[in-house]
């Protein structure tokens, strides 16, 4: 009974990738609407009433994106009204709303992705594909606080020697530039020392192994297989033309047959997986707390 973010990072990445690929592959309003609604739902379940400002930002973005299309694009046969000799059509309007839903929905999903995939998980997933790049990334992450500390120390030393002044803005900039220059030189030298130390301990001589304390349990396998199966179903349905939707020149669509329906339902289940896991985790947590 784990929460969604406690699953194995690789499984989480595969899930998000499959959602994003489908969301960008299909313009069918049902698919787009499902992405949009569940994206918001999942974000709210995870964050509650926090982040009101980002909700407002997304709402504004939605309106702008929805309105922009009918003003720019004049395709479509059903003319609603005319501004400056440019027809504003119903089709362009619907298309704008559809695009806005798609973009804002994917943005919500990516918000959750950024929250869930913290730097350690990202490094782990990256390490599966490329240990070398993962090493560069993790070293860079470690260097950041190190450089900051070193900058403080250099600044103190400069102050003690009477070389640092922040009386006026020009002195301030010059002093800071000097500190920056010293830190960069030190950073490069320190990097060489690190590299030599790594070589001395045998880096690059054998096969590199990665440490991780993520376990790949039964629930991970279940989630991964379910995810891949649903993904294949949706992609198959979409690629075989059962989820086609055209806005121009006039609205025409398929998807009212059984196969289209199966595709939509499969996508809905796929999107509800993390929502379900999250709610189940919450209920279980509350239940256990009530026993305490």
């Amino acid at each position: 009974m784990r929460r969604f973010e406690e699953y194995e990072p690789f499984v989480i990445t595969v899930f998000f990738l499959s959602v994003i690929v489908i969301a960008m592959f299909s313009v069918h309003p049902v698919v787009v609407f499902l992405t949009f609604i569940t994206g918001i739902l999942f974000y709210i379940i995870r964050n509650g009433k926090k982040h009101i400002r980002s909700h407002l930002f997304f709402a504004m973005l939605f309106v702008i994106l929805a309105v922009a299309n009918p003003l720019v694009s004049h395709n479509g046969v059903t003319v609603l009204f005319v501004i400056n000799n440019n027809p504003v059509t119903l089709e362009a309007f619907l298309y704008g709303i559809n695009s806005a839903m798609m973009i804002v929905g994917v943005l919500y999903w990516f918000r959750s992705f950024t929250q869930i995939m913290t730097s350690d998980k990202l490094l782990y997933v990256f390490g599966i594909f490329s240990p070398k790049l993962s090493l560069i990334l993790s070293m860079a992450l470690r260097f950041i606080p190190m450089f900051r500390n070193q900058a403080e120390r250099v600044k103190d030393a400069q102050k003690a020697m009477g070389l640092y002044s922040d009386d006026n803005i020009i002195d301030d900039i010059r002093s800071n530039m000097r500190v920056f220059s010293i830190v960069v030189t030190w950073a490069l030298e320190n990097g060489i020392t690190t590299a030599d130390s790594m070589s001395a301990r045998g880096y690059g001589t054998g096969k590199r192994t990665n440490f991780s304390d993520y376990r790949f349990g039964r629930s991970d396998i279940v989630l991964l297989i379910t995810d891949i199966l649903l993904f294949i179903i949706v992609i198959y349905v979409s690629a075989s033309g059962h989820l086609d939707f055209n806005f121009y020149p006039s609205v025409s669509y398929s998807g009212h047959d059984t196969i289209g329906l199966i595709g939509s339902i499969a996508y809905g289940i796929l999107l509800m997986l993390p929502v379900y896991i999250e709610i189940r985790g919450n209920i279980r947590w509350k239940y256990l707390m009530s026993k305490v």
Binding site: M24, F110, T118, I136, L188, G191, A195
Partner: protein, 228 residues
């Protein structure tokens, strides 16, 4: 398994496959199949280009020192992204490429995109940012000799890189909004992005003016002293 003996041919293939063959295939695919699916094709092309380049890098033996220096430059770029309005990332990527070669330049650009997006938010644009910054570094590496000799040329390259970055990212914006490519939307996106394009250009040129010489001296010194 075919082994290519000639070293320069090998390195040419390593660069040509991800950045020329795959995009060409993607372009062909999008024209030949379905005109509506540009977005997913472009995303797949970006993704595979990065994967192929990375796996090429993975197989190659790179000196530990070079690896760590790349990490140092990535960390510096990452810190630079927190400066409001003016971003030194492109400038630092170019400088790295000039002294350590195109591959390191590519890695610094691409890795900075991944790393800083942990804080600035990942999106489907991450792949395109990686490609855009990476390619700016890679090309700077190819042109390193003339760019190192001529300062004016370097500044022009910096400004051009700012424009190119904006143009690449706007292609992506249009594809995402419209699913297919649309010239009118692209032009309007470019016009709306003019302030950003200008800020990229100004910060690239400014940081190249300020940083090129000191960073060049430092990297050059490290290169001579330790033979990176």
């Amino acid at each position: 398994m075919i082994v290519i003996k000639n070293r320069s041919v090998r390195s040419f293939i390593r660069v040509a496959v991800p950045f020329f063959v795959i995009p060409a295939l993607a372009l062909f695919g999008s024209i030949a199949f379905d005109r509506k699916k540009h977005i997913i094709i472009s995303l797949a092309a970006a993704f595979f280009a990065l994967m192929v380049f990375i796996s090429g890098f993975e197989k190659k033996s790179v000196g530990t020192r070079r690896l760590v220096i790349t990490a140092v430059m990535t960390a510096l770029c990452f810190i630079g992204r927190f400066i409001p309005f003016l971003k030194p990332i492109t400038a630092l990527t170019i400088i790295t490429a000039l002294y350590l070669g195109g591959e390191s330049g590519f890695l610094v650009g691409a890795m900075t995109a991944i790393l800083s997006n942990i804080y600035f938010g990942h999106g489907p644009w991450t792949a395109f940012q990686m490609l855009a910054w990476g390619l700016i570094g890679l090309i700077a590496g190819f042109l390193s000799e003339p760019l190192k000799r001529n300062k004016l040329l370097l500044l022009i390259y910096g400004a051009a890189a700012g424009i190119a970055y904006s143009f690449i990212m706007d292609i992506w914006t249009v594809l995402w909004y419209n699913n297919g490519f649309d010239t009118r939307l692209y032009l309007s996106a470019l016009v709306t992005a003019i302030p950003y394009t200008l800020s990229y250009m100004i910060s690239n040129v400014m940081f190249l003016v300020v940083l090129a010489k000191p960073f060049g001296e430092k990297l050059g010194r490290i290169k001579i002293k330790y033979g990176v």
